[in-house]
Symmetry: C2
Subunit: 610 residues, 2 copies
């Protein structure tokens, strides 16, 4: 994978051009590469060897503490020591001022080595949010201690009765007595409620855990505002701290109500947490102490600020599981002798068996995995590059990048979740019966990956976000910008022998996508349009990936012509592009047909008919 990462960053995304910008001026292609080297090594030494261990030794609660394998502690310590938690932060708070693109690529090695040990994303997202929306003291006390790895962070959004529907969160926050708004750490509230699916919600890996919690502040009538408008955001530390970030010795009223036992991703503790249920009584009073972040009612907006990066992170995790399965099955296919190729003269039963990589159907399963996982990798890095553009580009470019990112994020999250899961299934299939046993790593990758279509917004939520919001906002400006971007690639492909035909099929696909988008919305009724939002998401994703692969193929061919990449490597990329255009892109017709027809069969289905 490393070669492909380097190629994508260097030959495709020209990442070193970022070093012309003031923020990254101290960096160079070499420093970027050194970061990747270091992460690759830590991932190989401290994460990969323990991936099966954390699957079999799930977190358990001994009545007082959540117990994790020592390997998880060692991995966390090594990760924190690497400085990667604050990789993108300013020098003056101890950061490395790395582009997000490089940070994401560096983190990819950890996800690939062990996705469920690598639970750092939430801490970084939590701290990043505070760097934008927190007060200077909140940043100093909470964010900085998360970036250092001394403490870790969570995101507490869902509740047992409110998952996809966050507007229904029932956790309540009331002012903590007179002078509640004079606390230097922020307006102080008492929270009461239950939060579900909280990853890393309880453990002993770090000295403290900083929960970011969505809750509603009741009005004078004791009622909360329905919908998302009533949601506010709070910092709720597991252990109370002072303005110097020292533990006060008092436990906040955040209690583990239960561990979730999952199908995969078992190395990460996932919890149901009770806030303010009375297990602890900080200051002798009921309720978990929380400090307001930003303004009341702005909680979800603050949270969504981090959503693009969180979703790119999930997409990258799915991608790396796909990549891990691809590499494992490639390795197996090269070594496993089985059968003999069919030939016009039949088979010579007396000949030795051949490695299964020589069978066309096995090559198909490997090529599909390669096209899925390397294509998804390219997409995630491309999106990360847009994040960097949004943050450090010139104004017009930054605005464009932000717009494109809005449209691409649902794909960056959903496409790898679906297709790198399929890649993992193919990795099992390549292994035959062995792949179905726990003696080989691929069944775990498959189990781990199944989560990604669910968390951080389900597939269905991504689909509604895309068709219901992203492609129609600003009069369809995002979709137009994407089309313009894709057409640039098509134009370039038109000049290149062997790729021009793919440009033509992509142009046709793009046209169909646009037509289906219009047809879906032609009645103006969201119920008509959104009934087939998921097939739309799938088709959209395949068009995006056909474009990504064509653009990557152009870069690969140019790199070959200029002697920067070896022929075999480039052939592999070209073959992926061909595979995606021949085997995958044509699938959009079936998906778009129902979208364009606003097909009512699902919507019309009645409960009594099931």
């Amino acid at each position: 994978m490393r070669h492909t990462v380097d190629f994508l960053l260097t030959d495709w995304l020209h990442i070193s051009a970022l070093t012309d910008r003031p923020r990254f001026a101290d960096h160079s292609a070499e420093t970027f590469s050194q970061v990747l080297d270091a992460c690759e090594k830590i991932a190989r030494d401290k994460f990969a060897p323990f991936n099966r261990l954390v699957d079999t030794e799930e977190p358990r609660f001994d009545g007082e503490k959540v117990i994790l394998p020592q390997a998880t502690q060692d991995a966390w310590d090594a990760y924190a020591a690497s400085g990667l938690l604050s990789a993108a932060q300013d020098y003056d708070i101890g950061g490395m001022q790395l582009p997000y693109t490089v940070e994401l690529a560096a983190n990819a090695f950890f996800s690939k080595a062990s996705v469920s040990i690598n639970a750092s994303m939430l801490s970084v997202g939590n701290a990043n949010l505070l760097m934008v929306h927190g007060t200077p003291l909140q940043q100093q006390v909470f964010a900085l201690n998360e970036f250092s790895g001394r403490w870790s962070g969570t995101m507490c959004l869902s509740e047992p009765q409110a998952g996809s529907s966050l507007s229904d969160v029932a956790t309540r926050a009331v002012p903590d007595g007179d002078g509640f708004d004079a606390d230097p750490l922020g307006p102080r509230y008492r929270l009461k409620g239950n939060k579900m699916w909280i990853s890393a919600g309880e453990h002993e890996l770090t000295e403290n855990i900083i929960h970011l919690v969505l809750a509603k502040i009741p009005g004078p009538d004791g009622k909360t505002i329905p919908g998302t408008k009533g949601i506010s955001l709070f910092i709720v530390p597991k252990k109370l701290v002072d303005t110097e970030a020292k533990l006060t010795g008092e436990r906040n009223d955040v209690a583990l109500a239960g561990l979730n036992h999952k199908c995969g991703w078992r190395g990460t503790t996932n919890t149901l947490l009770n806030f303010g249920e009375g297990k602890f009584k900080p200051g002798g009073q009921a309720g978990a102490i929380g400090y307001l972040v930003g303004q009341p009612g702005e909680g979800l907006r603050c949270m969504f600020h981090m959503m693009n990066e969180a979703r790119i992170g999930v997409g990258m995790a799915a991608t790396m599981l796909g990549m891990a399965g691809y590499e494992a099955s490639l390795d197996y296919a090269r070594q496993r002798p089985q059968g003999r190729p069919a030939g016009p003269g039949g088979k010579d039963a007396a000949a030795p068996q051949v490695p299964i990589i020589q069978h066309a159907d096995v090559k198909r399963m490997l090529l599909a995995q390669k096209a899925y996982s390397e294509g998804a990798l390219a997409l995630e890095l491309y999106c990360a590059r847009l994040v960097d553009e949004q943050h450090t580009g010139a104004a017009a470019a930054a605005k464009e990048a932000a717009l494109l990112l809005e449209v691409l994020t649902p794909i960056a999250k959903s496409w790898p979740s679906e297709w790198c899961l399929e890649a993992n299934s193919l990795a099992i299939q390549v292994h035959g019966g062995y792949g179905y046993t726990r003696d080989f790593p691929v069944e775990q990758y498959w189990r781990d990956n199944r989560l990604n279509m669910i968390h951080e917004g389900t597939h269905g939520i991504q689909a509604m976000d895309l068709l219901g919001r992203k492609v129609v906002m600003d009069g369809g400006a995002g979709l137009k910008l994407l089309a313009t971007t894709i057409n640039t690639t098509i134009d370039r492909a038109g000049q290149v022998a062997g790729l021009a035909e793919h440009g033509a099929t992509l142009a046709a696909a793009l046209q169909k996508l646009g037509a289906a988008t219009k047809a879906a919305w032609s009645t103006g009724d969201p119920q008509d349009a959104l009934a087939n939002a998921t097939p739309y998401l799938q088709a959209f994703g395949h068009v995006v990936l056909a474009w990504v692969w064509l653009d990557v193929a152009l870069a690969a061919q140019a790199a070959l012509a200029e002697g920067r990449q070896p022929a075999d490597f480039v052939q592999g990329k070209l073959q992926c592009c061909r595979y995606l255009h021949a085997y995958e892109l044509p699938k959009i017709d079936a998906w778009l047909a129902v979208v364009a027809a606003r097909h009512p069969v699902c919507r019309d289905m009645q409960d009594a008919w099931f």
Copy 2:
């Protein structure tokens, strides 16, 4: 599900017409129904409650015995007591002379309740094989004691180095001294070798285990014949028995070498067995004692005799996992409140949440599951009905049924394995995060189902069997017969309002399938044709299911018109037909395009390019 089973057997397959045949003359619709009632009850009481238990308490070896949960013993005992092991056998050996169709439907309830407790299929297949190829004494001693449930059976085909490529089995069988061919139980050999993936290969559920083992008999030069021609079949009992079926007290040299630890299907012991490795020395000599079945070199032919039914059995297991997930997620969707429907006026955040079954995307996921699992159920029962026709029909009809069965068996095995697995993934998705936990049953169904694309001939093997053999044999007679059968349905649909359009799309699909078949073979080179055998299998399966659903819809509509089925029930079937034709059938274009083009991208892929 029961209502659908009854409808398919009665209104669609007219199963009671079989009672006109002498073999089934004592039966009636009522006796068939009573069998299903009894099985449904045992499955509900003795299997379903323990499905999670057998997932968490895997078989373990204590150094002497393989330990299974008591629930597995209770389930086996109840199953054996039901008489279902010999359901299809003659009255005079204690059977019920039930049609295979009814036997399969009855077994479906056990697979749905707990697929991995329900490991009876191998015993029945083993005994059935002996009833065809064994000597009268072999039948008396071995088969009859398997039918009674006193003993159980296995199928020992694969070896660690020979899975898909059975021609490479290395287990050897040599005559057991002078007079080896005078043993009343059959010519006596000594076997030595290792057998992999042997389900129910070691346990204490039954007094004895009867292994059917493929092995090669070396020639006078000590060499074995390469390829499948050299394979013979042997009965190798775990414990030696006499001609009265009494245990002699001596252990045969069959030893457990290891238990396989699987991703799912954990209730079934799966083993690596050593034959003749010297752990036991029956008669003081080295080698496991085995009795030849049939003629030397005919082993694989004998085994393949049972293959169609074994593959239908796997297809039904996959189907029932899909059905179990469908029912669980339907139940969940009816009870889980989450979100509010989108409307032209937006959402009313203050309104109570609605059950998720009201969301179009959830209905899509439920309808897809229903179409996959009920469609697969119909296909399996249809194939079972062909088996009955083959065995009890008039000569011409029997021949036709056998031919059609040859073509349909790869679909009966592969289609549910792929699409009912997808159904299980959708069942998880309907549950959201809860579906990913082990507190709900759906993640286990998904894990269990992943096996079905692997065992009894992988997906790739089914694909090569279909495109490489079944559709070209006898000048394509099987494919022609299938087309004729499908066209009959299309003609009938042409007369029915609301279904005629589906007939037309099916006719077009059938035409494309035929054209792609021809184009694939147009060069006559198997490598050209078979490089895309898997997409061909997928397209073929979807065409078959579109036909099955259209035919079922015709039956449903007729039943409604004649007042035999309620309107809601019939609407559900019609909606599935519409779903399959609108959302699924169009997928064949992408699959068939690469088949027809003999697309070389996978075949051309080189090891060095990966």
